[in-house]
Amino acid sequence: MMISPELFQQLIFYVFATFTVGSAMAVISVKNTIYSALFLVLCFFNTAVLWLLIEAEFLAITLVLVYVGAVMVLFLFVVMMLDVKQAKASQLKQSYTKAAILIAAAMLVELMMLFGYKLSGQIPTNELIRQEQGYSNVQEVGMELFTHYVYPFEIAAVVLLVAIVAAIMLTLRKRDGNKQMDAAKQININPAERVRIVSMKAEKGHGQDRGEES
């Protein structure tokens, strides 16, 4: 087999890019919502592989860890619990469809403009800047985040924290007569207050009598 490393890399790129696009299309076209969510997982995975190809290994693994490992799990949870009925063909012709097509068309035009701008030679597109072996992009990402972008980073963190607290506050409901257990009380329980240990003599002969009766 005569495959040069460059060709090999391109081959990998095209295989995974096809999978990415294919699974993304499947997300919106399959009828079963569970399959939809699982195809989205596949899409994230293939995107991670594409990121690995441009040597962004930390971002690729973080994508898998955060989106596939946490976000999509909760998504699947919700989809399984909701018992969504399978979509019918008639539903596709409803009012949302027109708006959706409009938004999709706008995004397509934007993407094409972006590609046109890039390909017109503003940015060198033919060669990726390769780093030496042993170059740690974990360190690089960390340095950038905590020096150049420290304020946006910290503000984003606080916004997320507020979102978490708000979400919990909105969904937290106290019912009357809720028999919630108090962990501190349970731990601090004293066995002597609850159990009385009695010492009594063994009752001889009783068991034997019953044995003879039966």
Binding site: S4, P5, L76
Partner: protein, 337 residues
């Protein structure tokens, strides 16, 4: 260049095969070891019929499982039903790619090794969820939901414990983390990171759904949890995945907190030499601890599991990360001087 590429691929295939076969064999004898350990704790004999001292018992079990019929429940989703055990197994094996067995003995020496392991172990939950849903059974779905909630919760504490290791070592590369702990038992990270060490291991037990955190397969309530409908080879795959995950959690604990392949002793004698045997011995200690816990502790109540994860472990890890950072900044010895 061309030969190099082919050579690399071929070489890696051999390594992968060696690791996978090694893990499978270890799993086989781990089940034997588990039954023997628990038997002795119960004052019984354990398996002793197949082969000398029952040593061939694992092979008998495997043969039995492989020759059994795989039954598909009525209205089960066949494709997802079959793919679920494969996902469990694949993610359990994939994590082994970055584990360093000895200095330089690692399949993929990548810089983001620690995050990779965390990502791969967190993917195992898909096998559980998909199995629970595809089985079309109440018990399986309940087990899957319990297991998923538990894994997602404990992953956070586990991730924070790993952040502590990351702060201590200053790198995500597992080999470099081990190298940072060179020089005898006092240099291991178990001492400065003691709370994180316990939290990591206990979260690992919870992540692998083992006793006392095995509500996902609580026999008394939901029969066998997410794999209640699985039989034969499909069940064997789940079993293999669970045990492979146990081994990897033990191996990672040994790597991150007990100095991997380094000897606890210092000096020039033969016993102080770094060796793969040290790594295997440390891993075995944690594997034994799994069975020890299983034989001695009752199952946790579900709300207690959640409380332990969210209200005890996560706050402790956050505080201890600060403590580690301060210790590192002030170069507290013997770890950071």
């Amino acid at each position: 260049m061309i030969e190099m590429l082919e050579f690399l691929i071929l070489d890696n295939l051999v390594y992968i095969l060696a690791i996978v076969l090694g893990v499978i064999l270890t799993v086989a004898y781990l089940t034997y070891f588990e039954r023997k350990v628990i038997a002795f704790m119960h004052v019984r004999m354990g398996p002793n019929r197949v082969g000398p001292r029952g040593l061939l018992q694992p092979f008998a079990d495997v043969l039995k499982l492989l020759t059994k019929e795989i039954i598909f429940p009525k209205n089960a989703n066949k494709f997802l039903f079959l793919i679920a055990p494969i996902i469990t197994l694949a993610t359990a094996f994939a994590a082994w790619a970055v584990v360093p067995f000895d200095d330089g003995w690692v399949l993929a020496d990548i810089n983001a090794g620690l995050v990779y392991v965390l990502a791969m172990t967190s993917l195992g939950v898909y096998g559980v969820i998909i199995a629970g849903w595809a089985s079309n059974s109440k018990y399986a779905l309940l087990g899957a939901l319990r297991s998923a909630a538990q894994i997602v919760s404990y992953e956070i504490a586990m991730g924070f414990a790993l952040v502590g290791v990351l702060v201590a070592a200053g790198t995500l590369n597992l080999s470099d983390i081990v190298r940072a702990q060179e020089g005898g038992i006092v240099n291991w990270y178990i001492w400065p990171l003691l709370p994180l060490f316990f939290i990591y291991y206990i979260s690992g037990v919870a992540e692998t759904n083992r006793a006392p955190f095995d509500v996902a397969e609580g026999e008394s309530e939901i029969v066998a949890g997410f794999h209640v409908e699985y039989s034969g080879a499909a069940f064997a795959l789940f079993f293999l995945g669970e045990y492979a995950n146990m081994i990897i959690i033990s191996a990672l604990t040994a790597i991150m907190f007990l100095g991997g392949w380094y000897s606890p002793f210092t000096g020039d004698s033969w016993i102080a030499q770094p060796n793969i045997i040290w790594f295997l011995a440390k891993t075995s200690i944690f594997l034994y601890a799994y069975f020890w816990l299983r034989a001695s502790l009752p199952r946790y109540r579900y709300d207690q599991i959640m409380r332990l994860g969210w209200k005890v472990f996560i706050p402790i890890t956050i505080v201890w990360i600060m403590v580690v950072a301060v210790m590192k900044v002030y170069n507290v010895g013997p770890w950071w001087n």
